[in-house]
């Protein structure tokens, strides 16, 4: 583009004053955003479950302070328990997705992969799971059997045994068919030391494949939009891919995050805030299936805000970025991995998108709830 530098258009005194005032307002906002969120709501709305800012205020404003401890405050996907000479990692997750079967997956597969992936993101090799079922009165036994078979097969494929469990039944209407809670235990792998606050300017940002498939598949499976496509949920176990990454570039990895509710945008904003860095994402480099892009276009949703169940964000030191990309691409399911951006110094805590059209904009976390009960 033609430079505007020498045209005399910028920098007249009036304009400078205006942009200084604007910058001051923006600085106040950023200071407010950097503070820990307060939980001030009078009741729970669906937005608190959407993985965006309302969820963040519930976690940071109510839960973390109530259970105050250093492990929880680190806000990683799994917490560590330093016992038995090694670092044991634990995590837990509940699944309330509607419908319980959808193209590419089922609630049972999500329940295993979701928890296994949370352990993997902490750099922990998954060792065992517990399983808790909440069943609605009247649930057909055949549906339950199907889901139990899916859970068994997914756990076997991940090589993680289910070692304990619990079952509850509630009156018809008190839950929607079935809810599942899984808790996982793993052991921290010493090939890497991962932390959401370890990012530095210059680090590269990668995604392990095309984004937005899971959320889009669920959305279309609900049949509310009269849209059809062949998009399937991307639910998969990420441990083999993480294992490859740890092997190839372990010491150069800063952080791993699976981009579930709230999508890639929420993960990036959390990391930018935790590490006090800026991020610039190159829109044209982000892999998105054309049908996902099309559905997002029609529904007015950004694919960066759409949930994934088998995709992770990888932050790697600059010199190891190409090797990390090669490692991701060599693993099954990582063929479309890409380097999508870079960490910068300023503006601290913000994620910016360099648009494919050539402009720049902020990419914020999701507010509100375009689609409840996605996982």
């Amino acid at each position: 583009m033609t430079s505007t530098g020498d045209t005399g258009l910028r920098g007249s005194e009036g304009e400078t004053l205006i942009s200084e005032r604007e910058q001051k307002v923006l600085n106040i906002i950023e200071t407010a955003r950097a503070k820990r969120q307060k939980f001030r709501d009078t009741q729970i709305t669906m937005a608190h479950g959407a993985g965006g800012k309302a969820t963040q205020s519930l976690i940071e404003g109510l839960l973390v302070p109530a259970f105050a401890n250093a492990t929880l405050e680190a806000m990683a996907d799994a917490g560590t328990v330093p016992v038995l000479g090694g670092n044991v990692a634990m995590t837990t997750d509940s699944f309330v997705v509607n419908p319980i079967s959808f193209p590419g997956g089922t609630i049972g597969e999500l329940a295993v992969n979701g928890t296994v992936n949370d352990l993997s993101m902490a750099g922990a090799k998954p060792l065992a799971l517990t399983l808790s079922l909440i069943l609605e009165e009247g649930l057909p036994a055949d549906i339950l059997k199907e889901q139990v078979a899916a859970i068994a097969a997914t756990a076997a494929a991940a090589g993680v045994p289910i070692v304990a469990g619990d079952t509850k039944v509630v009156e018809r209407g008190a839950c929607d068919q079935m809810y599942i809670c899984t808790t996982g235990m793993g052991v921290l792998d010493d090939r890497a030391s991962l932390s959401p606050s370890s990012l530095r300017p210059g680090d590269k940002i990668l995604v392990s494949g095309r984004i937005g498939d899971h959320g889009t598949a669920i959305m279309l499976a609900r049949g509310e939009f009269d849209l059809e496509s062949d998009i399937e949920s991307d639910t998969m176990c990420l441990w083999p891919m993480v294992d490859t990454l740890l092997d190839q570039v372990g010491p150069s990895l800063r952080c791993l995050r699976d981009a579930t509710r709230g999508g890639v945008a929420s993960v990036l904003n959390e990391l930018a805030r935790a590490s006090h860095v800026a991020m610039v994402i190159n829109e044209a480099a982000v892999p998105v299936h054309p049908a996902v892009a099309g559905a997002a276009e029609i529904l007015g949703i950004d694919p960066m805000h759409v949930a994934n169940e088998g995709k992770m964000v990888v932050i790697a030191a600059p010199e190891a970025a190409d090797a990390a990309l090669a490692a991701l691409r060599s693993a099954p399911g990582g063929e479309e991995a890409a380097i999508i951006g870079e960490c910068k110094t300023e503006p601290e805590g913000m994620v910016l998108m360099a648009t494919a059209f050539g402009g720049k904009r902020v990419m914020d976390q999701l507010v509100g709830d375009p689609l409840p009960r996605i996982c």
């Binding site: 583009m1 604007e22 709305t45 800012k53 309302a54 509310e224 529904l299 300023e346 402009g359």
Partner: protein, 371 residues
């Protein structure tokens, strides 16, 4: 995506931006209003501002349908949603708009059966699936969405769906534009005309802008090249001393609009004597209600609503933002008291609202370096 990517071509954008730079006189400041919230959204989403010379300023207009709904109407909607057995349906953006005592989302959490729909036909489908329960559709929008509401009501009547009702908040675009142009504190050099509305009403209704008020206008599409092209057209008019209505969006917008859509609107709706706009007060003949023939489907008549006028919160400057008098960040509560997660004003709620668009996408001064 075919027919979309062509209008997002960065190379063409660069060429247009270069030509725009050649059209502006250094030292002169240009202020153009994009009337439609869809344009505001596009401008921020694609970073179009970044491609414009610093002396071309875009001012956001009153064309976001959610943003112009006054608090009293939200309260009326919530009171309908709390009626026994009612299923209340509306577009997603409306759910978070604050009334005087909470939002529709709060009402939902309190037990009201409120469902988000993407189209009035979805609401009609819900009515047919629940024949024993009244289903109310909270209709909002300019002439863009009014025809689909009208068609849905026509269909419901033809099919004898007796449990389908509509609370009509549809508005028309020309009266608020006149109100704006008559307002003394506004200084504008031209308008980017609302493309979606124009697909229905055509280009003709905007002729008064150049003829009566002497401002050029280009009706524009919503892709980034459309917006840049419209700015190019307006600047060319100014440079050549012309002042007229031009149609940048001719691939979709016919000069006389869509006669069938206008026909069905006139069957189903009639003008209200006046309608309240957020921050702009009452504007004559700017709102639509259901006509006599559809009175039995008019939720306001069938159920009665409190209809109490609620003053906008004192701190909120949505009215000035809607009129383009101030920029979103110049509002006293922008980003501190009023944020997308806790909006005070409507402009912070809808993705098309100028404040939400600026907060979500634009919260980064144009001149600032990334290092």
């Amino acid at each position: 995506m075919k027919y979309v990517d062509e209008f997002r071509d960065p190379a063409l954008g660069e060429v247009l931006a270069g030509e725009i730079l050649g059209l502006v006189e250094p030292g002169r400041h240009y202020k153009f209003m994009e009337v439609c919230g869809g344009h505001t959204h596009s401008i921020y989403k694609y970073g179009i501002d970044d491609l414009l010379p610093a002396n071309v300023e875009l001012v956001h207009g009153p064309g976001c349908p959610v943003c112009v709904i006054p608090m009293g109407r939200v309260d009326d909607g919530i009171s309908l949603a709390h009626q026994p057995d009612v299923i209340f349906t509306c577009f997603g953006d409306m759910l978070r708009v604050p009334g005087s005592a909470g939002t529709l989302l709060d009402a939902k959490a309190e037990g009201a059966d409120i469902r988000m729909v993407y189209s009035p036909l979805d609401a009609l489908r819900i009515a047919k699936a629940n024949p024993e329960r009244p289903v109310i559709f909270f209709a909002i929008g300019f002439e863009t969405t009014a025809p689909s509401t009208a068609l849905t009501l026509k269909r419901a009547k033809a099919e004898g769906v007796a449990n389908f009702f509509c609370m009509c908040n549809h508005v028309t675009i020309v009266p608020p534009l006149r109100a704006l142009l008559d307002s003394p504190d506004l200084r504008l050099d031209g308008f980017i005309g609302p493309g979606h509305v124009s697909t229905v009403v055509g280009v003709r209704p905007f002729e008064f802008i150049p003829t009566e008020y002497g401002k050029p206008i280009a009706v524009a599409g919503f892709e980034p090249l459309d917006v840049l092209h419209a700015i190019h057209m307006i600047l060319t008019q100014i440079k050549e001393g012309r002042c007229e209505v031009e149609n940048q969006y001719a691939r979709v917008v016919p000069y006389d609009g869509n006669p069938r859509a206008l026909q069905v609107m006139s069957e189903v709706f009639e003008l209200r004597p006046h309608f309240e706009w957020r921050g702009m007060g009452f504007i004559s003949q700017s709102g639509l209600k259901l006509s006599e023939a559809y009175a039995d489907m008019d939720a306001e008549i069938q159920y009665g609503v409190p209809g109490i006028r609620v003053a906008d919160p004192k701190a909120c400057q949505c009215g000035e933002v809607l009129k383009g008098v101030i920029k979103p960040w110049e509002c006293k509560v922008f980003g501190s008291g009023c944020t997308p997660e806790r909006p005070i004003g409507t402009c912070m709620v809808s993705s098309e609202g100028a404040c939400a668009a600026y907060y979500n996408y634009g919260r980064f001064a144009r001149e600032r370096e990334v290092v």
